[in-house]
Amino acid sequence: MIARKPLLAKAMLSDQLPWPSIKPLRDLPLLTIVLLLTAAPEQWYLRAPLFAMFALGVVFRSWLVRPQFWYIVATLLGATVYLTWETSDNHKYLFVYWCLALCCAFTLHRHEQQEALAIASRWLIGLCMLLATVWKLATPNYLNGTFFHYEILCDARLAPLVSWLTGISSDVLAANRDLRELVQSGYVRGLVIDTVALTDSPRLAWLAQAMTWWTITIEGTLAVLFLWPGKQRVANLRNAALLFFAATTYFVAPVRGFGWMLMLLGMGQCREDQRGWRLAYLAALVLIQAYTLPLGAIVDLVAK
């Protein structure tokens, strides 16, 4: 008789292969390193020590659960944000707070670490969404739809979706961006232009209004859910809402750094028994990465 290896499904059923699971205190530090490597600062004097730290952390895995390690990383990232505040996006600040949260959690007893990380993660998501909502509500040119109208007309990231939804050709949208560039830097070529007319469509105003109120609704909902003190009932709603936000928002505007950070925070705030949600956050992380692919070009290539 010939001995054969059991099939994968059979092996899993018979418990020979464990179902994949994520242990926050073991896996989150490693995922954080992957995230920070993909969004490393440009300054060599910050990049070099950070990469050295990460290399050491990957080799000496026990360092990743030391508060000292995360304190140094948070300090380096904080220095990056301080020195380049004029160009640093808000998720760079969130990287610093997250590393600080890891540092603080690892100073506690092992049985307290996950809870401390969960509390900090939940508050960070809640505060981030609260501030995002408050700024939007406090800005008149956001509430009247002007902001998304501008983004639709001039943001290259939204161009494929806008073109698909409204029928405006991508060439027209590119021409709008060229006109904006003319106002901004045409003066160096002797063209001092203060006003340009962008090509528009009545459909865009509706799309802008829909995006305006959708964003306020989803971000406001997330702020309430994550800052609400309840544990049991709200937990599933929180996870579902955050994953829905990630799947929809980052499809339209694939900002990978922010998306990944939110997914790590989402994983971090999961309770011990919420293994399925943690896997869902990992899947969302992969999905956000997939959104950064040139999907339009790939579809065109396959169609040919």
């Binding site: 004029e86 501030l131 830097s185 003066y187 160096v188």
Partner: protein, 239 residues
Amino acid sequence: MSARHPTSDTRPEAPDPSDTDPEDRQFLLRRAAIAPLCLCLVAGLHAFRVVTCGQTQWKGGGFGMFSTVDSEATRFVRAFAQTPEGELPLDIPKYLEKTAAELKAAPTQAKIDALAGRLASIHWRRPDERLVREAQRWSDAESPFAPRKDAHALSESHLPQPTIGLYRSLEAIPPDQPPEHALGVSAIRVECWTMRLESGARNATDGVPYTTLRGEKLREATVETPVEATVETTAEAQP
């Protein structure tokens, strides 16, 4: 940060989390609150600067991204030199890009004055004239850079091809180069602008809707140049 307890891998597991005493619980909550508290402090500072310095909501850690057209990307800086030939645009050099970016992110009068002052301390020249001089240097038979006669066809294709009059803006003479052929500049004017979107208009002939993107000046500063920068110097004029 000091650890209150020994680190995780050197001490035994606690028996049961529910047995945690109130003091330990308070300690845990205080540690968990440090990062969110930092977020609140930075966001408060950002809000203060938005109100007092005109800082863009997009930058500074206040999480005001995607809330306004008035971002650092829609703001822009224009700089002009007043010369005997009239007002000429300046191409802001790379080493001042950070200063210009800081101005765009938070356009205070102090920042625009500082940028104008730094631009006023620079010697400026015409890039098209520089290219012509480089081309002449290449084609000069006495020059060590001149092509050999047997390589005529190849060398012609490698000559720079300046287009006179294409470059309207002046370029900065790098600080490590002598200020040869510098233009006489009497003053520098810097402007910081943002953009406004105005929609609802329709083209009168075909009724196609269009939206206007309009520049709006936020700040302006004019600085007179130091005396030594106003005199035109050339290589020929120097002893």
